[in-house]
């Protein structure tokens, strides 16, 4: 019997939702087991990093990598898995564009530690903070250092395919598993390197069934503030819907259910900067010509940076805000 090709899945800075989405493919997961030898998948099985280090370079056929690069451990494993894998897939929004963990790029990373260990919800009267290295009788022990700026997977290593979504839709994962199994069996060919897989190329608006007219809005509304018309475009009703810039692939689930698109599938084809595209789209529909009136309408968008970069901050053109870059600069100096 010839050995089955090897499969790995890893989580870096992520929430675990991607793994759940994989399991949500139901019996499809058995195809993975039938066609692959699962060699490394920390959430599902026991394995040690040194087992991976001992593998031959390029010996893992397929690695699904989810999560952003938040600390030195993430970075180390990303580089390790790159070396050991033939096909490395940035799986899910975090690995693609930073996602929610990437929002920490708006602040100095020391503030994250402070919030976690010394705010009102934490009982830490002696202000004890984790130390990244500590001397014990057996020697020095380490925990990974936080990086000042969260990076996307392709900002650290070469990535073969991108599979967006927070998390990727299960039917999309199932389709990708099908494709990979067919490739393994020699019945199909891989898409060109660098392709986005398991998603559409167009926008969520393209998949959305709501009626669209010429949009002109006089105010932004929050979803709980009005009873939205169930058939009319949400943006037309003043609800800040991120559909115009977001990649299709989810079958417009949120707008269908009456909630605005929040952009979890990331930028659509041809969108260089997700937030910039949305600024363009939102500003175009505002029906006002006087600066004061425009400002008044824009006050309705409570947190524009969060609205436009909720999932995409680490993957955007600016990548991080001033406090995070300043921390990065201190970090670089310490390294040098």
């Amino acid at each position: 019997m010839t050995a089955k090709p090897k499969f790995a899945m890893y989580w870096a800075a992520s929430c675990g939702g991607c793994e759940i989405a994989v399991l949500n493919t139901n019996e499809k997961i058995l195809d993975v087991d039938a066609n692959f030898d699962v060699v490394f998948w920390p959430v599902a099985m026991d394995a040690k990093y040194k087992d991976v280090e001992a593998m031959e370079d390029g010996s893992i056929l397929l690695t699904l990598f989810n999560g952003g690069i938040r600390n030195e451990e993430n970075e180390h494993i990303a580089k390790l898995l790159r070396k050991k894998s033939k096909i490395l897939v940035a799986f899910g929004s975090c690995a693609n564009e930073g996602c929610i963990p990437g929002l920490a790029n708006l602040i100095d990373s020391r503030e994250i530690v402070h919030t976690a260990f010394n705010t009102i919800t934490t009982d830490n009267p002696h202000e004890i903070y984790p130390m990244t290295s500590y001397d014990v009788p057996e020697g020095e022990i380490h925990i990974p250092k936080l990086l000042p700026v969260l990076k996307t997977l392709d900002q650290v290593v070469d990535v073969d395919y991108y599979m967006p979504g927070c998390p990727p839709e299960s039917q999309q994962i199932a389709a990708v598993i099908d494709l990979v199994v067919q490739v393994v069996q020699g019945k199909a060919e891989l898409p060109p390197k660098g392709s986005v897989i398991g998603a559409g190329n167009s926008t969520v608006c393209d998949e959305c069934k709501r009626t669209r007219n010429v949009k002109t809005i006089k105010a932004f509304n929050r979803i709980w503030g009005i009873a939205p018309d169930p058939t009319l475009c949400l943006l037309e009703q003043g609800i800040p819907c991120n559909g115009p810039a977001t990649r299709s692939g989810c079958r417009a689930r949120c707008p269908k259910a009456g909630a605005q698109c929040i952009g979890c599938y990331g930028p659509a084809d041809g969108v260089v900067d997700y937030g910039a595209r949305l600024i363009s789209a939102f500003a175009s529909v505002i029906d006002a010509k006087e600066p004061q009136e425009i400002d008044h309408i824009l006050d309705g968008l409570v947190d524009p940076t969060g609205q436009f970069y909720r999932f995409n901050l680490a993957g955007s053109l600016l990548k991080a805000a001033v406090p995070a870059w300043k921390a990065e600069s201190t970090h670089e100096k310490e390294k040098a």
Binding site: L106, V272, K289, P304, L317, L318, P323
Partner: protein, 156 residues
């Protein structure tokens, strides 16, 4: 002090008014500092916010957006669109810690060469006072480009 800080400004002009204002400033021999690099668009409404973000991420210290006066747009009302984008961009950039004063919107008709020159001059002084942007050319802070190069040099 080593070299004094010279801000790099990217200026977007519209074909019909503000570019001609810049032209007029030139033919009239009005002097203004050379820190601004002008890019001509057909209309201020063509200004995709991506251009501004890219400019700032690639080392510009400030971005100046110029167009026809309200009501005088060659394409009827696209300059209002530019105005709204400008106002929303400033709010968004604030979330990144970028001072709103680093982007300025100026209306200048084809006859306002002097106004164009004085706006450029005052904008450059304002940005100079703010200092270099951290995405830009600042010796004390690695520029984005350097950060990217460092990442690329890491063996995969």
């Amino acid at each position: 002090m080593t070299d004094p800080f010279e801000p790099t400004i990217i200026g977007f002009t519209c074909n019909w008014c503000s570019y001609r204002a810049a032209d007029l400033a030139g033919t009239a021999r009005i002097k203004y500092p050379p820190n601004v690099r002008l890019i001509r668009l057909m209309c201020s409404g063509r200004l995709d916010p991506t251009f501004v973000f890219k400019a700032l991420a690639s080392g510009a210290d400030g971005v100046m957006i110029t167009g026809c006066h309200p009501g005088e747009c060659h394409y009827i009302e696209q300059n209002y669109k530019a105005l709204r984008r400008f106002q929303l961009m400033r709010r968004t950039l604030q979330g990144f810690g970028i001072e709103p004063a680093r982007i300025r919107l100026v209306w200048a008709s084809a006859a306002e060469g002097a106004k164009f020159a004085s706006e450029v001059t005052s904008f450059i002084e304002e940005v100079r006072a703010l200092g270099p942007l951290h995405w830009g050319k600042n010796d004390s802070v690695p520029t984005l480009t350097e950060a990217v190069i460092q990442q690329e040099e890491v063996p995969a």
